[in-house]
Point group: D2
Chain length 351, copies 4
């Protein structure tokens, strides 16, 4: 039993079924298939506006291609220091952008604040050819710490960078998980709040391997078809991506899957909040729970054979640092996490 | 009814079934899953030696990553001017290699000769820092023109570049199709003939989206894990790739699929060879047939609603150029091509 | 005594004097100095229009930065196969452009024709995301073979690519040498004939190390200040470049230097044209002479200790190939080449 | 009168004279000239060991090429957040390395500590393909804040990264200024203390435009000739670089020039240290003085027409932050700074 990540699960049976159903007969290649075409329309409906949609295989590719579309090689991308683009993509953003700089900023619970962003901008002189030029702010929704940004928070961040003309990218590898907590519309938390480009996650949500880059201004996507092909992310049998998303998006299945995962996470977080040796590192707002674990709890989890990741303590609130022997443990729930596993985890924590 | 490409087909039912069967329960991510592990062992058995195997999503990624592993940014890659790396990857090799140069060479039927390669090398001075350095020769098996290289031909090409120390890469997007024609072992047509790195094609052969980069010298693969991740080609749910290949490779299914496709192609080629208005542009040796089509045949195919690609005439034998009004038509057969479709095509050609 | 290249000479004394004179007191750094400012105005006067000027250190940097400004990473640059960008820059264009493709074309005397260009374009489908996109045509003036393009020829080349929207770059490492032969204005052979960006050579003409990238549409130069800085080509003591060009351009010194070099070349070419064992490989139109040298002449030159480069025979007219034992020898004259050296060379050739 | 930078000065007359003297007759191109050859030997003597030397034009190019030689595209370079590579090179290191990541670390007076470096390493997992790999530590000597590292401090930094196998690069744009303060040998502060590659500054020290990349292990320099050429940093008239360095290095002229500049800086720092409204931001150890300037002093400097840069306050000791209205002013002395100018500055500060 382990809670390492939401990527150890299989695909949702409905996604798998959609793919299997699509696997019949000939189809136009390279994304001109019916499934992909329908998915593009579906995204327009979900976001209540015209969008340009590019399906790709991995979250790393989605983020790197999205960023490359809106930053110059001599540009800078402001980001949280624990973001996936910084910590988990082996430099893909730098590779795809031909060397743009990620400017890594701190923030409790992996969240950026307008203050942190404004301070970072003050060190980057606009128009000065000696320096990289701040051109993009990227935020993660839900964050790497399982926290979320409200529409107001997203808007405040966009406003902080608007005077300097930065675009706003949202890494939505766990977009669905954030959305079901927020209870707002997809439009409200994206383009209506200032997001220019979204990496819409499918894989962690229940797909096999499918992500979408969504441009709210299609004009910014004009070069994307070349970028994607050149990156080896344009599938010849494009229905493989289209069908997965069709299965995921139909009947709001994606939201149901996320709701399941969040519910599991909330159960754990609520239990810990009621007292005991472990404590929440920061609020649980999506499908991930981060717990400060004293040695005794670590020991019990080990004995119980329960797997989790030791997480960086960088995003702890400064006023509540780790004590000697404590670690931050990450527990991730997926659409497939079963209730009894969470109960077993709760029991092991409680001792 | 069309014969545009072997990528318009779905996946083989057995591949699909293998994927569906794998889609259950949790699995280690990023290629540490059981399916991928077994596939790596299977490839070692197929090639009768230790190999380093990296599964990726597309042929473009496979080729670009393979080349990037064996050429420096200031290196040159000798290639046929109609190769996929030149014509169909939107500069992916240049992107992944940080700007290595593809040196495009002519050759009948998309095949390179030792003479052409030797001549090209004579224009590239070894060790001279003013020039890009010849470091790789890449060949396609089966070629873009549906012809194949024999083990002796591969060896002769390798010998032509060995004095200059070039590595030999084989783009095997249609490796299976070549193999069933050759009737030799996979080892004989690859490392035993001098191939250093192979792009082993799965997608055109009957997978959904799965290719393998195979290093016959694992030492050359040491950096590949970073390259692949950085390119957004490392799947979190790695079993998606592993299971496809397991389905494809089990019980020599991959060879059966290729044999089916080749048989369809041979039927068409044999029919044309018996006479008529159309003629073979060059020999049909795999699953693609290239026909020189006079206007009347073009017209009949149009009337019959049969789709095919107009192909470049660059690879025609110099002694048999196109006549006024003729075009080269490409007809590709896949594992899914049905006999009656080929017969209908033959009938339309014959008129 | 050798005729290897025009880059073995020192700088013209007047250039050196200008630099020495500039070497006094403080000056604004990074190109904001008075010398550079004046040079920019001087170029506007020379070209009879507003231009954007960027001074750099080497011809390789000038070409690579110029191309990077007008081609996308997935773009293609049509060029002669013997151009400096192909043969002598170790892949700098590919590096600076993040992997654009140089499409190398043949042509007698290193000159491109509209026919060759049109044929090459026919293999590159506009708008197709599978392929690199033809975006730039680059020509060399004077060419690597010492031949030149007339304004009409330049215009014809531009017209051949205009339907496809390509920009025209001119590598003018030996621009002055071409100009004095042509007898036209700098404007006539550049922007009036369709050139968009010019690499204006200083070093071979008599500077120490100074080249200028000149944009005839300043809007295309907007990103150049970042590109140049990022390439390590923005001098802090910018007057080093400004002063060299001021010395070179004042009183048409640059044209006088080129005229001197061309005169020396013409003397050699005229002598050979009058008969003897050697023959001109193609017309001498600037400061380089290419001679087909039979073995006896090679031997005499060796005995006389006269150095020259063996040159590729690729650009010979097809109807006049090398005979057994013959080589093409390149003899380059500079502003510093002395008449008696040319006479000694003539004598050695004549035997 | 201004103290903006040491790059607003001309070249030292002796450097200029050396260049003028070299400007006669033909010379082998591309660094095979006698001047460059002698300079390479001179560097070996200065550093008391075999070295590989590559002359380039700018400090940005020197640093970027040095780093590219020792870091992979997926590597990380630990650096101070105010280093030239971070703040003043417009992303050149990212460009030349094909996207390696600079990890920016804080530190008082622009100096890194073993603690800061060790902490940064703890966030970068060795061997994990999800992450960029820590491969280089770069330090600046003298730093951007005019402070210096002692041999013991350099060694301690190297020891902090040795378990992880990082190479140590030193940006020595003001190496001479550090050296004359340290009073040790060039060897002691470089390779004997663990430095692997040094950017040896010439331009700020008194050259026109000349820097040297020095590899203490020549094996690491094997690819540098291609990297340099490809970057457009290989001069055809290589003596331009060789002669400058010959003039600079002869008779320890470089050390005399640095001593002059440091003496001017020390005069200012000593004066401020004796009391008054301004205070030293951190110790003055080379040729730059950083003063915390209260509003009244700012006003007096403005009135006196004395130029200086407002500097970032990030490197102030945490215990001595700026008070309301204060700024950090940077005053740089060069070999050409005259005593009376410093006295005028002191007078203006004192009021």
């Amino acid at each position: 039993m382990d809670f390492f990540s939401d990527n150890t699960a299989a695909a949702s049976p409905r996604v798998m079924a959609a793919l299997a159903a699509a696997n019949a007969g000939a189809a136009a290649p390279y994304g001109k298939d019916d499934w992909t075409q329908r998915v593009e329309e579906r995204f327009a409906a979900i976001f209540e506006r015209e969008v340009a949609v590019f399906l790709v295989l991995t979250g790393t590719a989605a983020n790197a291609l999205a960023l490359a579309s809106i930053v110059k090689p001599w540009g800078a991308v402001l980001t949280h220091e624990e973001a996936h683009v910084v910590e988990d993509e082996c430099g893909a953003p730098e590779f795809f952008t031909n060397g743009a700089k990620l400017v890594d900023l701190p923030g409790t619970g992996a969240k950026l604040t307008p203050e942190a962003v404004t301070k970072a901008l003050s060190h980057l002189r606009a128009g000065d050819f000696h320096q990289v030029q701040a051109q993009v702010l990227t935020i993660t929704q839900a964050t790497e710490c399982g926290t979320i940004y409200t529409p107001a928070e997203v808007r405040a961040l966009k406003e902080a960078v608007t005077p300097r003309g930065l675009k706003l990218h949202m890494d939505g590898a766990r977009f669905a998980n954030a959305l079901v907590t927020l209870g707002c519309t997809p439009a409200e938390i994206t383009w209506k709040a200032g997001v220019d480009v979204l990496s819409f996650g499918g894989t962690k949500n229940g797909a096999l391997a499918a992500e979408a880059v969504i441009f709210f201004d299609p004009a910014e996507a004009e070069e994307m078809k070349w970028r994607r092909k050149r990156a080896g992310q344009t599938l010849s049998k494009g229905r493989v991506l289209g069908a997965q998303f069709e299965g995921l998006l139909a009947h709001d299945h994606w939201l149901d899957l996320a709701r399941h995962a969040n519910t599991r996470a909330k159960r754990l977080a609520d239990s810990v909040a009621q007292g005991g040796e472990a404590r929440l590192a920061w609020p649980c707002q999506a499908n991930e729970v981060f717990l400060v674990l004293p040695p005794a709890v670590q020991e019990r989890l080990k004995t119980a054979g329960i797997g989790y990741y030791d997480w960086s303590a960088r995003s702890l609130p400064p006023e509540a640092p780790l004590k000697e022997g404590e670690v931050v443990g990450r527990f991730v729930m997926s659409f497939a996490t079963e209730a009894e596993h969470v109960e077993a985890l709760i029991a092991a924590i409680a001792g």
